[in-house]
Symmetry: D2
Subunit: 396 residues, 4 copies
């Protein structure tokens, strides 16, 4: 019987549910040196966290996240709260010698992210490990994409074309939820989904974004207050009209140059009517191309210019074979997997890293670098200038 | 806290793993009146079943399936073994007053299936319920397909075009596994995957197949014996060459007429190179069409001939909205689900039926009717004659 | 300046327009040893044929097709009339020493087709050549499909899956045009579009259909008479109700075995709502698969099982490269071609054959063999028996 | 018999061949008030132009384009030469009272384009008409896209996503042809294919680009000289190495704001390996979305957010129905058209405009506006600044 990795999770909403699935499933699917135990979950609402613990399968629950960190029988803190709280929780957990899994984006500001990366680097010297949860790296098709790039199958990358398209706030009567308030979410489409395509393209290409020219737009400037947002936005935005100000971007678009010579377009938006979760990346290289769309997450398109000319074409690889990344744990060919599997793969890799004492990726330093790109994009949009990405700490 | 439904599962291979996921997940995803408990699993190999119980999450394990039936603390027997054992186990379980979930095909012969359907009808009078596991009915896109048909959106159905295409035995060096031996599997592609498209098309159209003309083919007539198959086939097929006879069909094709006036083509094969799990159904009606392919399980194609002429087209519905069948339990739009979710939906519906005392579907009578179609197909292939499907018991 | 090939065309409707485009275009696109001259067109209506000659670009016109055959300054008769007139015109033309291009199906009966094939074989001994117009053989993607099969790229063919799906008579108020009357059209979907997939699959596989089991169906049994059809059907079908009997099949479905060991499904229908001209062929072989759909005529899908396992997938070959069949004459890569190009390719190959004294394909003997398959399908549908295809003349 | 429109064409390469097809075909497909006559073609090479005249079907040929303009029996000058010669020819033709069709881009500089637009405006006062050849406006699917936008079917447009992706110079050994030399081509991917997506998006949205932020890149900086380019580039670039400098962009990317409030990404490249002629436009509006890719030119994707939620999806409209733009002239549904048809549609509209004395579109003023966008993009790429598009003449 394997040793346990005892988890305390902070937050239990969308990300909390996804992470719970991962912790519950990972040892059922993979043979691992450590067995995850869902020790306790914390949340602000006593009723909410009790119900979530029961539904999601946590042994205990609390309204005090600090109590999780103080417990001796918890090895890892899993942070699933909005971005404004990440830094405080992560710093406390690392200081207490707990491993940390922190949802993306790492923080709402570069300053916080720098502190977190520094703390993680320090903690690593004592074998305490931290990882940021860019789950889309663990889509098997994305992992295969990276592998084909690393094997040189598409040669020198010339073009990156990245989009993350959603449409859930196209309707102007959609309310002013926390994700539309800067003080809580940090930014809008940019940090929420733009962060994913920044991380993903850097991951699959092995190149870093060096400079950007951006624009951001808020198409719908005021939205109905909810019970929640009415309170939250009282001083800043609540003028009694029942509407509050949207203080984040609805869409963020930018051009970029990568340090390996590629040029790129990026687009993150919540206003692409009909596109539900279209995280798309296309790479064009000197020897081939690769394309991915999360709406067809079990497929990867590969154009191999080394094949005979008359036979070249974009091939639709169904990434469900046992020799594809992560797939050996699942079902026979053609029996696709779903969204939550990306989290299961994430914690699988994290458990392997912890068990072997290796740094999991993306590290907090990697996530800081994404934060620096987000910051450069924001500044570029404000100043209408090409803006260089600031240097990060040395990445692990 | 809800009352428990205590499950004993027989068999722990592919289907056993899928069902285990379902039992483990169903109360995490859905709010249900009964809480599934994974009480015990049985299997022939002591080591195998012990390892499976640990990996899949069953409280106890045994090599004696009869002991599961004898226990008072088990409410439902879940049968995940090969088809030759279904009848014996199901009959014993029903006789003992256990609810039964039985994998498809219901049995290896019509005679067995008739016995099982009769026993299930009898048991139902005492509130003991039986269901057959045609899991693909619970793909959200398939459920939506049925719903649109029932709402009359495609009018009178003229054409059914059904294929279940796999390719896992194209290589002639693939060994003689149990699925390729008639005494264990009953038939080959026909019963294994043909049964699914028979059930599925009858489910979505609301029509029954009345008469068929079929051919079956075994492309590779001998295959390498495995340790397992060498023993199994000793008398019948093992001539010392290291090869044994394939005694089932590699492919089964048939034409059919349905009792609502539609004409149909069916094709089930394990030799469709490159098609991994292409369960495809297309319906053409007087007012529209619907098309589905499990390799893109989160999508349904719908052609609505009632739209203005210049705007008609097959629309790709991403079946991931909260108002689509089963999806409310899962993730936001565009965050697709995977193969195992079909089993979770299946046991969700089964739990609802048991809790409310209603007959779950497909019933054993429904599954008998599929068996009768399989039988008609087999006889048609043997006699090279159009063959009528025999009448079933009255379906529940 | 090249020598001329002087053409007389009979019929000027849909096929006449398509053939006119081909004759007008072929020497503009290809460098050929003979230059097509559009000498004269004939048709029954004096006004109609005059207008067509002007619109389509023929030098002269006549209402007497025999006069075309009698002229010394015409080298080739191009037959674009309904099937009931093919035999008489073709036999007269061949007897007069004219080359013949005859639209498909070759005839409305096997007897006629046998006479035509015999006459063509006789004429060939004097260098007079005949070809049947199965234009879809000349889609570049189809020609590439055949080439890949011939090169052994998909190995031994196991499965043929052929469909020709249209929907132009789904509406029951669509009138009783000549294509819906047996005495003119011979059959319905079967001869009109089923003939194409019979020819095409035999062409690309190099195998012949040997035996079939079929069903045909007429979903809408009576339709409004038109001015034209009211007259035509006076005795047989016009009961004064304004409706006349549909005397051909709306859909024809059949299973088949091919002489190379493949098994096949065929389906031809005019009731596949939303499918406009979906001529589809899929081949599954021991080493790969190929798939084509005319609604995406510039694409061919190819699955190559010889590639590394993790990279296998159906590749979408855009068949617009200069090294693809016929494409060198047209536009740069990615600039697709259209329906009429298939006819231009057809007459290009015919001109080459005539100039070099070689038999063009498909010959009348090839077309007779298709007729024999159609006949077997019809007889099978009538008798509800598996039916062998009768032997043809020796094929050229 | 209709009156003639006598055409003199300058240039006979790629565009000359496409235009010849259009002039030869237009009166065969459409009923028009004027009949096109292919009177004469001019080109620099005596042998080349003679051969082209014979192959493409022009009555006469000359090496002196001025002679075409001087002839009384020519009504329209069709300019198919590289961009550096457009202004001189067009100005001379307009001055001589000839109608003009000029290939895109209108000119190689804004100054030339301004002169041409002014001359066209002046000529129009005498009934002499000028049109620029942005042929992709006449793809039926694009025309339908515009129509749906104009009917308000997608509401307020938020996003424009435009790409024109080719890959014909990915290989660094591809030679230094004229399109890679600034003095002849003006620019690279930007003017050649970027111009098309600028025009197309403005056409379909009804909005104009107001400001841009751009980058351009030349991935392969030197290429082998050809016999032609060796001479052309003698002084500037030929250093005896057999290589010459590429003096245009391989790729141009830009962000834009449109005057109707939409934000946009544009990308034109010749380095998108595997993308052959992927002219793609997607529009996301408040009520729906539209998407087009020229590699599937007979299709338009339409997402209608006004449909019931559970039925919404991107529908693939096969734009081949008689009630779709331009299609009535061609084939039955599902029988797609090809690249050259866009030119036939273009001259069809031009002939209609000339016959009725109406300004054809795009006018030279429209084309000047595209030139001003190209100029803003170039300046933005040079200065790395957001750059406003200069005001054009008043557009017709």
């Amino acid at each position: 019987m394997s040793e346990q990795l005892r988890v305390g999770m902070v937050g239990y909403a969308f990300m909390g549910a996804a992470h719970s699935t991962a912790w519950r499933t990972v040892n059922r699917a993979f043979d691992l040196p450590l067995s995850a135990r869902m020790t306790a979950v914390s949340g602000r609402s006593p009723e909410g966290v009790a119900a979530a613990a029961a539904k999601l399968g946590w042994d205990e629950h609390t309204t005090d996240w600090r109590s999780l960190i103080e417990r001796d029988d918890i090895d890892l803190i899993d942070i699933c709260t909005p971005g404004d709280t990440h830094a405080e929780i992560a710093l406390a957990a690392l200081a207490a010698g707990k491993h940390v899994l922190c949802e993306k984006p790492l923080a709402n500001s570069v300053a916080e992210a720098r502190d977190m990366a520094a703390a993680a680097a320090q903690a690593a010297t004592s074998g305490v490990l931290a990882m940021c949860g860019f789950n889309y790296r663990r889509v098997p098709a994305v992992a295969l994409m990276r592998q084909l790039v690393q094997e040189g199958r598409i040669g020198t990358i010339r073009h990156v074309r990245a989009q993350y398209l959603q449409d859930w706030i196209v309707d102007p009567s959609f309310p002013l939820v926390w994700r539309l308030r800067k003080e809580l979410a940090g930014s809008g489409a940019l940090g929420d989904i733009g962060a994913h395509i920044i991380d993903l393209t850097q991951f699959v290409t092995g190149q870093s974004i060096s400079t950007v020219s951006a624009l951001t737009e808020t198409f719908v400037k005021q939205r109905p207050l909810t019970a929640e947002s009415a309170g939250l936005s009282a001083s800043a935005a609540n003028d009694g009209s029942g509407l509050g100000d949207v203080t984040v971007d609805d869409a963020a678009l930018f051009l970029a140059r990568l340090d390996g010579g590629a040029v790129a377009t990026y687009e993150a938006t919540r206003f692409a009517t009909g596109r539900k979760n279209a995280l798309r990346v296309e790479l064009n290289g000197s020897l081939g191309s690769l394309a991915f769309d999360f709406e067809r997450q079990n497929e990867l398109e590969f154009y191999d210019a080394a094949l005979p000319s008359a036979e070249q074409g974009f091939s639709r690889i169904l990434v469900t074979e046992a020799d594809h990344p992560y797939i050996g744990a699942w079902w026979p060919p053609g029996h696709g997997i779903g969204y939550e599997h990306t989290f299961t793969h994430e914690v699988r890799d994290l458990i392997e890293a912890i068990a072997t004492g290796q740094q999991p990726t993306p590290s907090f330093a990697d996530a800081l670098q994404v934060q620096l790109v987000l910051d450069a994009v924001s500044r570029s949009a404000e100043t209408a200038q090409w803006t260089a990405v600031e240097p990060a700490l040395e990445r692990v």
